[in-house]
Symmetry: C2
Subunit: 196 residues, 2 copies
């Protein structure tokens, strides 16, 4: 879309700047990332940032949305592609260690730790809702497998879904603590063994 508009043209690539903001929020979290940090990293002045992205909270919200599809989407893809819940869990645990320790990208997961140390209840609630939605998605796929007889009837879909996302949270946190990809691979392999 190259709609010719009047006025002075923007001097920076909005999407490239957003990606830099994503990585900064990813690395430090919402609260520890100051507007000054952002303007320096993005190479633009504060008024340009506010004009292009609204305020800090709006920028974070947009960064979250793009992060979820650009960097964090492997969970949703596993749930969509794999035919069974356990297959999705196996794939997620197989991919997570690499996802959480990528070179030239921050460690861990923005959705897991982005709201850490934040006073804003809005930010916390927003991230909690995203996290809960992943538990719901896993629980739904587990329930479908139980109904189809692919999983024993005795298990609790919500608890198993919560366990899976909870174990991923632990992996992401361990990655932030500097645990290597190789060790995370072994931890993830153990985590999968809890599945029936």
């Amino acid at each position: 879309m190259v709609t010719a508009t009047r006025g002075r043209p923007r001097s920076f690539d909005r999407d490239a700047a957003l990606d830099k903001a994503i990585r900064l929020f990813w690395r430090r979290g919402y609260e520890a990332t100051s507007v000054r940090d952002l303007t320096e990293e993005l190479g633009i002045g504060a008024p340009s940032l506010y004009s292009a992205f609204g305020d800090k909270q709006q920028l974070f919200t947009e960064a979250l949305r793009v992060y979820d599809e650009r960097y964090g989407g492997f969970i949703d893809r596993a749930l969509a592609d794999e035919p069974t819940a356990k297959g999705a869990a196996a794939r997620v645990f197989a991919e997570a260690p690499e996802r959480y320790t990528r070179r030239d990208l921050p460690t861990g997961c923005l959705i897991v730790s982005g709201d850490a140390g934040t006073a804003s209840t809005e930010i916390i609630e927003h991230l909690r809702r995203i996290r809960d939605s992943k538990v719901d998605a896993f629980a739904a796929k587990i329930r479908a497998d139980i109904d189809a007889g692919r999983l024993p009837a005795g298990i609790d879909p919500r608890a198993l879904g919560r366990y899976t996302m909870s174990a991923l949270t632990g992996l992401a946190q361990a990655a932030r603590d500097g645990v290597t990809r190789a060790e995370l691979d072994r931890v993830a392999e153990i985590a999968l063994r809890a599945w029936p």
Copy 2:
């Protein structure tokens, strides 16, 4: 120790004030807890706080130490009391849900989330070291069980220890997200099944 000292006596109970500080740091983390929050919660002025506890970082360090023995010590106790590593893991997973959702106490764990959103590398390193030490402790007990033939020789002590603490981290984070004690109980039960 009631050594009669000269000068105006302290008007507050230092240990009671420290406990209030622990709970405040526990609830909000190091960075999101301001000195003003502390002085209001503890009911003392800023100079009294600095005189009694040093600066904010020293107060946090002392709060961490006391928290670890007063509220977080159930992991060390399980490792010390239970004869086997798996017994310690079973007990830790059995106790954690209640520990992370106590009434009249903040949810989750200070050592897991206290450094969240903090810029200070000192604080982050300090907490990472405490977390790593628990992994070491678990790994050592696992290794002892392997040597004694109580666990199969094929397993990786460090990975299994890391998994256990990582799963606990996930439970603590879930508790912070408002997951109920009952659901955490079921999640913890699943987490234990990963153990050989």
